[in-house]
Symmetry: C2
DNA sequence: ACCTGAACACCGTTCAAGT
DNA sequence: ACCTGAACACCGTTCAAGT
C-alpha cells in the first residue's frame, strides 16, 4: 500500500486524562499476537503492527527493544499458564497427561505461533520455572532421580514440542491450492515395488501422517495420534523406572 | 561493508571451455549451506551468498526460484540419506535406533540448520519416500497396522525432530557472553520453597536439560539423554503392540 | 542459456525533534 | 516520558540489457 503512515486516531482524546500513554508493552505484544494470528510469522512486520496500534512504526521502540523481543514475548503469552495446577491426590501420569493436552491446546489457539516454539524454549531468559518444576515434580513422583530424572525431563520437553510444532506449523502459504493437489499427486504416484508399506497403507496415512499431509493441524487435527503419542511417552517414562 | 559488489573472478578463464556456466543449482545450494554453517540462518542472505559464489546477486535467480527454495534444498541436502539401509536379519528396534542416531548425526554436522528442520518436514514437496517407507516398514515389522501404524509413525517423526531441534538450535547469538551468565544467575536464584525439585537437582540439570542450558548441542551434547530418549521411544512403541 | 547491472519496494532500526 | 518524522542501511526480487 503506497499510502503514508496513518496518524494516530483520537489525537485529542489521548491527552485528556493526564496525558495517559497510548501504548504499553502489553498492548504491543497483544497486537503483535493478533497480527501473527491473522497473517503468520513470515508476514509479520513492525509497520503493520504500528498501523494496527495507530502509531508511527518507531513508537514501538519505546516499549520494546526490537522485533526478536516481541516474538519472544508473543510465544511467552501464548504458553503462559500451560503448567497445570498441582492437584491433591493427583498422580504423575494424570499430571503429565494434562500438561500435554494443555500445551497442544495453547498451540491450537494460535497455530501460526508454532514455528516460534522451538526458538522459544531454546534459551529463553525468562525461564518458566513453574513449567520446569511441574515436569520435574511429576517425574520425581514417578520415582525418577539423578540421570534418569534428567533423561525423563528432556524426553518430555522434546516430545511436547516435537509433535505440536509439526502438527500446527503452517504449510507452504503461497498458492496453497496448487501445492495441495501437487502433494496428493505425489502420493498417488508411489511405487508399490519400491515403497510397499507406504503404498499399501496410503488411504490410512494420507493427510493423517506427518510429511504426508496437505493440511495442517488447524484444518485436520491429529487428535487420535496425539492421544496415542501421550500414552507412548508415558510408557517410555514407565520403562525408565527400571 | 560499503564496497560495491565484487566482480566475478576468472572472467576470462570462464569462457575458455565452450562457455561452461559458472554456476549451477548444486553449487548454489552447496554455497548456501556453507554460508549457513558459518553465519547461521538468521544472517543468511543472497548478497553474501552471491559474493561467495563470485557472481552478482541476481545471477542466483537463474538457478533457483527464491530464497525459500534455497533453504528447503539446504535442509534436504543435510538430511539426504538419513534413512538407513535395510539389513537382512535386522529387527525393527535396531533399524529405528540407527535411524535416530543418523538423524542426530546429520543435525550435529550442521547445527545451524536445526531451526529449519520443522519447516522442512512440514509440507515438503519432494517427499523423502525412502525415509517414510523405512519408518513404516520397521513399525510394520513390529506388528503395527491400521490406526496403530499411523500413531506409531507420527510418534517417531515427532520424536525425531523434537529432540534434535531443541538440542542444536542456536542459542541467542548476540552478546552470548552476557546472556550465558544471565541464565546461570537466574538458575542460582531459584527459590527452593516455590520450586523444590528444581532447586534440589540444580547441579544435575544445569546445562544438561532443555530450557536450563546456556550452551547448545554443538558445545554441550546431550548424548546420554538422547540415548535414553531413543530407548523410551522404543518402549513407547512397544506399548502400542498391545 | 546464463550473467550483469540498474532499480524498486520493503523492512528493521537509529536518532533528532517535538510536546 | 512518550511519540513523531526523517533518514539509513540492508535485503529479496524483477527486469531489461548484455554476451
Amino acid at each position: 500500500m503506497p499510502s503514508p503512515p496513518r496518524p494516530p486516531r483520537a489525537t485529542a482524546a489521548r491527552k485528556s486524562a493526564a496525558s495517559k500513554p497510548a501504548l504499553s508493552r502489553e498492548r504491543v505484544i497483544e497486537a503483535a499476537l493478533a497480527e501473527i494470528d491473522e497473517r503468520g510469522v513470515a508476514a509479520f512486520n513492525l509497520r503493520n503492527l504500528a498501523e494496527r496500534l495507530a502509531v508511527y512504526p518507531t513508537a514501538v521502540y519505546w516499549h520494546v527493544p526490537n522485533k526478536t523481543a516481541i516474538l519472544a514475548e508473543v510465544v511467552a503469552v501464548v504458553f503462559r499458564d500451560v503448567a497445570p495446577q498441582q492437584r491433591k491426590n493427583d498422580d504423575w501420569r494424570s499430571y503429565l497427561r494434562r500438561l500435554f493436552q494443555r500445551y497442544r491446546e495453547s498451540a491450537r489457539r494460535h497455530p501460526n505461533v508454532a514455528p516460534l516454539v522451538a526458538a522459544h524454549l531454546v534459551g529463553n531468559l525468562r525461564i518458566d520455572f513453574d513449567f520446569v518444576e511441574g515436569v520435574l515434580a511429576a517425574l520425581s513422583a514417578a520415582g525418577l532421580a539423578g540421570a534418569r530424572l534428567v533423561a525423563g525431563y528432556n524426553a518430555v520437553v522434546a516430545a511436547l514440542i516435537g509433535f505440536v510444532i509439526q502438527e500446527f506449523s503452517p504449510l507452504p502459504e503461497a498458492d496453497t491450492e496448487q501445492w495441495q493437489s501437487a502433494v496428493q499427486q505425489r502420493l498417488l504416484g508411489v511405487d508399490p515395488a519400491a515403497h510397499p508399506v507406504l503404498a499399501a497403507n496410503l488411504p490410512l496415512l494420507a493427510n493423517k501422517a506427518f510429511i504426508l499431509r496437505w493440511q495442517n493441524g488447524s484444518e485436520a487435527p491429529l487428535d487420535d495420534s496425539y492421544a496415542s503419542f501421550v500414552e507412548q511417552v508415558l510408557a517410555g517414562l514407565e520403562s525408565l523406572r527400571e
